[in-house]
């Protein structure tokens, strides 16, 4: 119970800071909407090709800008020296990881939710309420993997000068299988196909969530050392 409370305290602190000074959230959102707008010019809204390309466009616009959010999450802690304050506290470093990861997850979901609204507005893709619910499930699962790996790598590169470049270079190769799963699951959903394959991809993403969260939790201690 104490662990959950600590994770809540840590995540709430990050969310409060983002609320007070939402530069990274706004930048992430701006970048995401910009991607949607650019792709929107490439396709005629009535073109059937939109349906084929839509899942890829959606996930590119949701995940690529997310790197900005991840980078900032540790950069500000390093700049203000507050990471040292966290490290010096008696809180287990795994808990520090989960707190940071939870805040990144929530912020990513918030951006994704707004991106999703823009996506449906720009691309005129018809979808039922059940399918919207399933799409949210995908957002939740992909957001989990993205936040877990992203938080770990953001901590790793936060001391380096080339961190802005390094984070996406490290992050996206690891995330390729999850992005492929997310794109395929979204295609099944938007294509109006039977949901049998959709659930296969969802299972794969759920397993990836558990594996990556556990791995990042275990490795975070080493990342913060020295």
């Amino acid at each position: 119970m104490r662990y959950w409370r600590l994770i809540f305290v840590l995540a709430r602190k990050d969310l409060r800071l983002e609320y007070r000074s939402p530069q990274s959230l706004l930048t992430t959102l701006f970048f995401a909407v910009l991607i949607l707008v650019v792709f929107n010019f490439a396709f005629d809204p009535g073109d059937p090709a939109v349906r084929t390309a839509a899942p890829g466009i959606l996930w590119v616009s949701m995940l690529f800008p997310g790197v900005i959010q991840l980078n900032r999450s540790f950069q500000s802690e390093r700049e203000e020296g507050t990471l040292l304050g966290l490290i010096l506290s008696p809180v287990d470093r795994g808990i520090l990881f989960f707190g940071k990861c939870a805040a990144n997850w929530v912020l990513l979901l918030l951006v994704d939710f707004l991106v999703l609204i823009c996506f449906f507005l720009f691309y005129n893709v018809g979808i039922s309420s059940t399918e919207i619910g399933l799409l949210f499930l995908l957002l939740l699962l992909v957001g989990g993997v993205f936040s877990a790996v992203g938080t770990l790598f953001a901590a790793m590169v936060s001391t380096l000068r080339a961190r802005d470049v390094l984070l996406p270079v490290l992050l996206f190769p690891i995330l390729v299988p999850e992005v492929v799963a997310a794109v395929n699951a979204t295609r099944e959903l938007l294509g109006g196909n039977s949901l049998q394959y959709f659930w296969h991809w969802v299972k794969l993403l759920a397993v990836a969530d558990v594996v990556f969260l556990a791995a990042a939790f275990l490795l975070f201690d080493f990342v913060l050392e020295e």
Binding site: L10, R16, E80, T82, L84, G85, S89, P90, E226
Partner: protein, 242 residues
Amino acid sequence: MVQNRAVVAESVLFKEPLLQLRSVTKRFGSITAVRKVDLEIRRGEFWTIFGPNGAGKSTLLRVVAGLTGPSEGSVSWPGSTMDRSRIGYVSHQSLLYGDLTGLENLLFFARLYALTEPRRRVDELLQQMDLVNASDRPVREYSSGMRQRLSLARALLHDPDLLLLDEPYAGLDQHGGRLLTEILNGLRDEKRTVLLITHSLEGLDLASHLLVLNRGEVLLLRPRGDLTRGEFEKLYFELVGS
């Protein structure tokens, strides 16, 4: 009889070292930042560490804080185990969130330290640091002196056994420096165990024990006794070189 036991217990408490450094060496690649430092710190002692820039003072403090391990030698807490909650650490960086208020910062750290009554302790420290009126303002609006006092309050939240202060006078104006000295005087009078790194001679007046480091080596380690500022300055420059 009971009184005797209390006296014995107290004398044992103050005689047994709280912290023991045995031949501690810290290297970064080919550079030796700290070289074979032996040190015993007892409860209630106020140690001030002097030395020029690059002498290894901050590295020594980081080793004591457990932020980095020694390359050789050992850091031990006789009769107990090292636990991060036993240490309070103030660095020249405030370790505070600029966009949170002073109160929010302290409450956040109080919850990390799992204090039973965080609000009461935070109010007590805000009072002690004379920051009650500024507690609802974001820390980025604080002056350097206010930040440093809030940082000290953060380090004292959990009532640590050992307080480590890394150049707390850095960036403070005279007024801020005087206020900080008053607070540190109070801590010394409370018999808190403190390890202070400073270039300021205020640190000499506060000290019960002195340590001078240069190029990672201990050049002086002694109780302060009745050493005056003038005598210490002369001794310091003889040891370190002008």
